[in-house]
């Protein structure tokens, strides 16, 4: 009995992938970290794919969304499954840098373009020939770190301390921030690490304060970013506190409460699109997305914007590729890759101008300094 059930279940499992996706349609394979440590980033991304239209350029689009649990092995398995079973025309994902880096080989071997939603610039490093197939939508750490350095320099800050996640996100930020700070003549005099779910960061914060930096940057994503901030405030730290764009979601504001007042962070324009001048082209696109998102899922998260931007890139590139080949073919995937490389798209996080040497395509228009004022994001003009 059990045996028969198992067989039926297995048969069902392996036929869904094939039966569910007709070859004539455009298939987009998505893998996001909707569970595991990066869940707070992955969930708004996953939600966003629920909002997307099912046709692009008059062709039917299937969004096949899988969860990789923030695990690199699973992300690669997902990528291989999407390429091998679902015959996708393009991969989107994953949420975090290690998973995205790990997927590169699978994408390149499957000759399938991939749009990552992770931070590190290493994913689209032009020096690596494999990245010919790889694109990414989020602003690179370097771009954001520069914004912080500029803001610090303007505020007359000479020394800074850093406390960040003991993971790829925290490591990436630390490396980029050191570089940007050096350019701006700011010294990084203390570096501390903590884990996302740590119950206490007292030790790290005491050490930071003992070094007496003019400002502290917290390299964290989501509500865990509040832990060091609250500790810094509780221990009477008087300098400026900076956060990264990783915390730009409403839950962070809820948890950090009044201890967040005055905190500065760089963020994509969609976070504060209401405060942008009408002349900014991003405003209209961001408004459209955020309205849709908030109607269905509650308050906006900038991570959902990365997912939406990948859709916007595809909706620009797919019609171009359709002129050259039919979906489901090797030629279509190659054409899509080429079309993505010529994309010039206004999106929620800025304006993407892709070139063979820049597969991210964002510039200074993709970052704004934002201040937290009484539980609200306020654009620093």
């Amino acid at each position: 009995m059990l045996q028969r059930k198992l067989v039926t279940a297995l048969a069902a499992a392996f036929s869904f992938g094939v039966a569910g996706t007709a070859l004539a349609d455009i298939n987009v394979g998505v893998t996001v970290s909707a569970t595991g440590p990066a869940a707070s980033l992955g969930i708004p991304e996953k939600n966003t794919f629920d909002l997307l239209p099912t046709t692009i350029g008059g062709e039917k689009v299937n969004w096949i969304v899988l969860d990789d649990g923030s695990d690199t092995t699973k992300a690669v398995q997902n990528a291989k499954k999407l390429i091998g079973e679902n015959k996708v025309d393009v991969l989107v994902g994953s949420t975090i840098t290690p998973a995205s880096l790990a997927m590169i080989d699978a994408a390149v071997e499957g000759e399938t373009p991939m749009i990552s939603m992770a931070a590190s610039a290493r994913i689209v490093d032009p020096a690596n020939p494999k990245t010919r197939w790889i694109y990414k939508t989020p602003q690179s750490d370097a771009l954001m770190a520069d914004a912080i350095a500029v803001s610090m320099k303007a505020a007359g800050i000479k020394t800074m301390g850093y406390i960040g996640f003991a993971d790829a996100y925290g490591d990436g930020w630390l490396a980029e921030m050191k570089r940007s700070a050096q350019t701006a003549g700011i010294q990084v005099i203390a570096e501390e690490k903590y884990n996302r779910a740590d119950t206490s960061v007292t030790g790290q914060v005491l050490k930071l304060i003992a070094a007496k930096p003019d400002a502290v940057l917290i390299g964290a994503a989501g509500t865990p970013g509040a832990t060091p901030q609250k500790e810094l405030v509780a221990r009477g730290y008087k300098g400026k506190i900076y956060q990264t764009h990783g915390v730009a979601n409403p839950d962070f504001l809820r948890v950090v409460g009044k201890d967040g007042n005055g905190t500065l962070l760089p963020a994509g324009p969609m976070l504060v699109y209401e405060q942008l001048p009408d002349s900014n082209p991003v405003k209209k696109v961001a408004a459209e997305y955020v309205t849709q998102y908030e109607k269905k899922f509650g308050t906006r998260s900038t991570f959902g914007g990365h997912a939406y931007d990948s859709y916007l890139l595809l909706s620009a590139a797919i019609p171009e590729a359709l002129k050259k080949a039919r979906p489901g073919t090797k030629e279509f995937r190659a054409a899509l890759r080429d079309a993505l490389e010529k994309a010039n798209v206004v999106a929620t996080h800025g304006v993407y101008v892709m070139t063979p040497h820049d597969h991210n395509g964002l510039d200074n228009r993709a970052r704004m300094m934002v201040r937290i004022d009484d539980g609200k994001w306020v654009l620093v003009k």
Partner: protein, 587 residues
């Protein structure tokens, strides 16, 4: 070879492995490769946890050592992956030796926790070492290549992965069916029994631990070159728990449990990922919830895992017959001057309690000596002092002119002292033949390497023949191939005696052999002991049952309150008023 169901099933499995990469869809091949990798690690756990009883959560860290060693050397120095495999194995062996040396001394629940501790330490270390790519990871690892053939294609590397997995399976299976294998099985449930058979338990545990670690390392090396990217998450404690999961769910008692477990867990996750969104919609993440629930239900239904359940469906192959073989080398039993064993002023204190108080007596060649006394008189402690299970506080135990007091049990056994246990210690799932063959451990020399490569068949044939002879000697020939646990208690005690005889002892120590036996069983046992004596065996009998002892022994030593109360012929003892007062309650 006759075609049995099991060999047919095995052949079918091999055909699937051989044909799959040619015939199966791409993604099935991908999954198959991962299943192969996981099976290799789970196989180590079957041996370490399922068979030897040493729970480890840290295997993922060894996988990481193998993966990182190769990833770092190939990307930084362009070393050949085949060389890095050797380096990885060497590093893993060293780390496992060091960790095993420290942690395997731990008993009970200290060991699993210690494995969690170093599992976490190592995986966090990977993330904090700059040269290993930190938390972000190392990319650009080359694919494996055999000469000009690059194993980049998953359908090609399949053969390497499964060749290694099958080789590991073969070796582990061989190992379990061998001299060291029987010893490894005996590690479970404490070292007492193993050490009494002459097994150096602490050393053997480390050997098994290193074996499991090396398998994990090989899996990691394959992983690095399959994935061509490494970062710390696949080697975290969470993955370590998952490997243990695979072994237990598959059935940690059998090598096939590893493959079944790895397959089941991998496929289950895949199926849930596909099926659940169809049923429950895409809004939540139900995979983890349903995964956990299914496993709980599964373990409630089949707590020994899935493999024993499959095995029941396959008809059992008959055990290979025992062939005639020349006897194993026999120890020199010639009588030495004086007594065979002398206990000289032996003393054992537990804190303030003196359990054995300067006790002295001797055992002479060829006699049956009975050691009796009321409950709590110190008989069992004395027994433990002679067998080496407990160290002496002071005094001496001299066997054939050499001091054996406070020596570990396996050294005592090596000198020719065999023993049985008050509470029967057999491996219940193993056949009587294998249980008795374990007794002959000291008379063989096959090590793990030889056993794994099946170079031990000649010695194994001799051992089996010897075990069969001892079983026949004790009158249990009809039960040679029965599982030891299926016999009634009386016969289990006799199996223990046969096992003790298999080590060719000069002195046989029997710890309350008549306890719990029925009248007829006792008579049978007495008959057997008399026969053994007539064949020249010396026996020390610790007993509670006066009737049993009186008719059987040559001399008696009576203990009370840790001291010797009386010594003499049974008839004298029976008349001794002090003994009657103390032991017989003044009857």
């Amino acid at each position: 070879m006759r075609l049995t169901w099991s060999t047919a099933a095995l052949a079918a499995f091999l055909v699937v492995v051989a044909v799959a990469p040619v015939a199966a869809p791409q993604f099935w091949v991908t999954l198959g490769n991962y299943i192969g990798l996981y099976s290799i690690v789970a196989l180590g756990l079957v041996l370490l946890t399922g068979v030897a009883g040493q729970t480890s959560f840290g295997q993922a860290a060894f996988v990481g050592l193998g993966a990182y060693a190769s990833a770092w050397l190939t990307t930084q120095y362009g070393t050949s992956p085949w060389l890095t495999l050797v380096v990885g194995l060497a590093v893993t062996a060293l780390v496992a030796l060091a960790l095993g040396f420290i942690t395997l001394r731990m008993k009970g629940h200290y060991l699993p926790l210690a494995t969690i501790a170093w599992g976490i330490s190592l995986s966090f270390l990977f993330g904090n070492l700059e040269f290993l790519g930190g938390h972000t990871g190392l990319s650009g690892i080359p694919a494996l290549a055999i000469g000009p053939l690059e194993l980049k294609n998953e359908r090609v590397i399949w053969y390497l992965i499964w060749a290694i997995a099958l080789a590991a399976l073969w070796c582990t299976n061989n190992l379990l069916d061998s001299r060291p294998g029987r010893a490894i099985r005996s590690l479970r449930g404490g070292l007492d029994m193993a050490e009494a058979m002459g097994v150096d338990g602490a050393r053997l545990k480390i050997v098994v631990f290193v074996y499991a670690a090396l398998l994990a390392c090989i899996s990691g090396w394959l992983y690095a070159h399959l994935q061509r990217f490494v970062n710390p998450t696949p080697f975290s404690i969470v993955q370590g728990i998952e490997y243990l999961f695979m072994a237990v769910v598959g059935g940690a008692g059998s090598v096939w449990g590893a493959v079944v477990g790895a397959t089941l867990i991998t496929l289950l996750k895949q199926v849930l990922q596909d099926v659940l969104p169809q049923i429950l919609g895409r809004s939540g993440n139900f995979e983890m919830i349903v995964f956990g629930v299914l496993l709980i239900v599964l373990l409630q239904r089949a707590r020994d895992g899935v493999w024993p359940w499959i095995e029941k469906l396959l008809p059992r192959a008959p055990p290979p017959p025992v062939r005639e073989a020349p006897p194993l080398a026999v120890r020199h039993h010639a009588a030495t001057d004086g007594a065979l064993l002398e206990v000289r002023a032996a003393r054992k204190q537990f804190g303030g309690l003196v359990a054995v108080n300067d006790l002295s007596f001797e055992i002479r060649h060829g006699e049956i000596l009975g050691l009796i006394g009321p409950n709590g008189a110190g008989k069992s402690t004395t027994f433990a002092l002679i067998s080496g299970a407990l160290p002496l506080t002071s005094g001496e135990v001299v066997f054939r002119g050499a001091s054996i007091g406070s020596r570990p049990p396996f050294e005592v056994a090596r000198r020719g002292i065999g023993r049985t246990f008050q509470h029967v210690k057999l491996i219940p799932t193993m056949s009587v033949l294998d249980n008795v063959a374990l007794g002959a451990y000291l008379r063989g020399s096959t090590g793990v390497f030889k056993a794994a490569l099946r170079l031990d068949r000649r010695e194994e044939a001799l051992t089996r023949a010897e075990a069969a002879r001892q079983i026949a000697r004790c009158g249990l020939a009809a039960h040679t191939f029965d599982a030891a646990g299926s016999l009634p208690l009386g016969q289990q005690r006799v199996v223990e005696i046969a096992r003790a005889l298999a080590c060719d002892p000069t002195l046989l120590l029997l710890d309350e052999p008549a306890a719990g036996l029925r009248f007829l069983e006792k008579q049978e046992l007495a008959k057997l002991l008399r026969t053994l004596k007539s064949e020249g065996m010396t026996i020390l009998l610790v007993e509670h049952d006066m009737d049993f002892v009186m008719g059987l022994t040559d001399r008696l030593v009576v203990m009370e309150f840790g001291q010797k109360l009386a010594e003499g012929l049974p008839a004298e003892i029976q008349r001794n008023p002090a003994v009657r007062e103390a032991y017989l309650g003044g009857v």
